[in-house]
């Protein structure tokens, strides 16, 4: 049974005035077909003149209305209301005020490479695309910079603790789109390499949460392949992939032992000796030359052909 009045808890915070975020409860009359943006607009017009939230297009194009409702990131312009909502800003991003997070300056957000005058800037895009390519490219370009993918990315969250910086799914899906369309994509591909795509943990949170279903994780996979094919992927990931491929070509199962050797080298893998000894004691050490599959040879030829073709 729907109630006439919705109870809404909003996380309010003005870093210039408040020490910490505070939760404020409001009551809003329910309208038919109400979405969360309507609730915020109602509060703004009737009760809270300084409620900090963004809205513009109402149709999932501008990306400014993203925030969390009951912990889940959504576009409020198209999120139906429910009883007892808790509204808070996107996680993991600096809060400007209330429900507004830092969406960066336009250049950084949309064309971060512009400051570096990449060597293909100003040149034309490829005009004739295959039909399959068009749909895919358009999908990638549809990113509205809502920041939802970045807000759920665990690799991006780790950046705060130092070390190499992951650029995030949003940046990477944009770069994949650039690589697809630019007639000379190499500068953007190299720019992507510097964005540390290998720090993506392949957790698919971004793909799961993207409100436009653009699949950033898959775009990162695609960039990885491009870099790998050009031998421009970082050494560890390259070794990881190559080892996997070799293992499978050799014996159809992954040889974990060999994997570590391939990645770290015979000398480098020495640092794992204490760990290896421990694993050995616990009978968990992968055996060298982990068994080939009973009928490995049947698939080996095929796989080798595919490898040669690629």
């Amino acid at each position: 049974m729907q109630s006439e009045i919705l109870t809404v808890v909003v996380e309010r915070y003005d870093p210039e005035r408040d020490k910490a975020p505070r939760l404020v409860t409001y009551r809003v009359p329910r309208q038919e077909g109400m979405v969360v943006a309507d609730v915020l607009l109602y509060l703004y017009e009737h009760e809270v003149p300084d409620l900090g939230f963004l809205w513009e297009c109402r149709t999932r194009r501008c990306g400014t209305c993203a925030m969390r409702v009951n912990g889940h990131p959504v576009l409020t312009c198209s999120e139906p209301v429910r009883e007892d909502m808790r509204i808070s800003p996107l996680e993991g991003l600096p809060v400007v005020r209330d429900l507004i997070v830092d969406r960066q300056e336009l250049q950084e957000r949309l064309a971060p490479w512009a400051g570096e005058t990449l060597d293909g800037s100003g040149k034309d895009a490829r005009i004739l695309l295959e039909p399959g390519e068009i749909a895919h490219y358009r999908a990638l370009s549809e990113c509205i910079d809502c920041f939802i993918c970045d807000s759920v990315c665990p690799a991006l969250a780790e950046n705060a603790k130092g070390g190499p910086q992951f650029a995030g799914p949003r940046r990477l899906i944009r770069l994949e789109a650039q690589v697809q369309r630019r007639a000379e994509p190499l500068p953007w591909l190299m720019y992507a390499a510097q964005s540390n795509p290998s720090l993506c943990t392949r957790c698919f949170a971004c793909t799961e949460e993207c409100p436009r279903e653009l699949r950033p994780a898959e775009a990162i996979g695609s960039l990885t392949k491009r870099l790998y094919d050009r031998h421009e992927l970082d050494p560890h990931k390259t070794a990881h992939i190559t080892s996997f491929v070799r293992s499978i070509l050799r014996g159809a199962w992954l040889d974990e032992f060999r994997l570590l050797v391939d990645i770290y080298g015979i000398v480098g893998v020495a640092k794992f000796i204490p760990q290896a000894l421990r694993m050995l004691r616990h009978r968990k050490l992968p055996k060298p030359h982990f068994g080939k599959t009973a009928q490995a040879s049947d698939i080996q030829t095929i796989l080798q052909d595919l490898d040669n073709r690629s």
Partner: protein, 294 residues
């Protein structure tokens, strides 16, 4: 349906997590499942192959599925989340994209195989819940896990993306929770229970991965968990085998035992910790071993 499944062991369950294979076989046998091990299966290629060599990954996994299908088996049962997502991803493509299926079958015909896209890929946990049923499982419980507070750790690849996995709601997964309850234990909800363990970053930046995994363990610990259960041997490696590393990087003692789903079930069914390979773990589940060995 029945209870006859193609058993895809994967790579980790036989190398760095042999206790997983061991406990799976014990539990399946006890519950009356017939597991037909796909000896001549092949590694799924994890995420590396499907990203860097998509065509190879497709054919390789089509073969595994075809092998199961050829033996009249409807379900390929996995015990690793990454195997699950990769096999399901390829299977979905083969079911939805005729060109992919044709290309695969063209290669498979060279070795006398053909895939008709009739197989389903399901994780052991799903088979347990959906086929066997938790009510039925409750009846088999000999030793309810009554004083055990178990942190249900889902990780990523068994949940996301939901159009590939689709068994549990990624925002509010319940399968492990319900299993724990059915076995008599208390699920210790913790906020990062569906977060990534960082395994696939392990060889890229160890410290980062170790910090990440450590954070999850500490979170579970702070919710009062005695032990963490995981559906994936890769998560297990990350959080058990490499827990000492996490402790070093975070400069704090954690000491949270991590066990596999099959081991959790096995304990409740009455198997001893030794039989289930719990003594092989790097972080020794001391209390479980003490309390559940008789």
């Amino acid at each position: 349906m029945g209870n006859r499944y193609a058993y895809f062991q994967g790579c980790a369950a036989r190398q760095s997590c042999p206790e997983l294979n061991k406990s799976t076989l014990l539990v399946a046998k006890r519950l009356g499942w017939e597991l037909v091990t796909l000896e001549c299966g092949a590694c799924t290629g994890a995420r590396d192959l499907i990203e860097a060599q998509p065509e190879m990954a497709m054919v390789l996994n089509a073969r595994t599925l075809a092998l199961a299908e050829a033996q009249g088996l409807e379900t390929v049962m996995t015990v690793c989340s990454t195997c699950t997502i990769t096999l399901r991803q390829v299977n979905k493509m083969l079911k939805e994209n005729t060109s992919a299926l044709e290309r695969s079958n063209q290669e498979l015909s060279r070795i006398g195989l053909r895939y008709n896209a009739t197989v389903e890929v399901r994780h052991f946990l799903w088979v347990l819940i959906a086929d066997y049923g938790l009510d039925r499982l409750k009846e088999q419980v000999k030793r309810p896990l009554s004083d055990l507070s178990v942190a249900p750790y889902y990780g990523c690849h068994i949940l996301r993306p939901s159009d590939v996995l689709g068994f549990d709601d990624p925002d509010n997964p319940r399968s492990l929770h319900n299993l724990i309850t059915a076995l008599g234990g208390s699920p210790a909800d913790f906020s990062s229970q569906a977060d990534c363990c960082g395994f696939h970053m392990m060889t890229i930046d160890e410290n980062r991965a170790a910090r990440h995994a450590g954070g999850l363990l500490v979170d579970a610990q702070q919710q009062g968990a005695d032990v963490m259960v995981t559906a994936c041997p890769l998560c297990h490696i990350s959080m058990d085998s490499w827990q000492p590393k996490s402790e070093r990087v975070m400069k704090r003692k954690i000491g949270m035992p991590v066990i596999h789903v099959a081991q959790l079930v096995g304990l409740a069914l009455g198997f001893s910790p030794r039989e289930l390979g719990l003594e092989q773990h790097i972080i020794r589940p001391v209390e479980i071993i003490a309390n559940y060995s008789r």
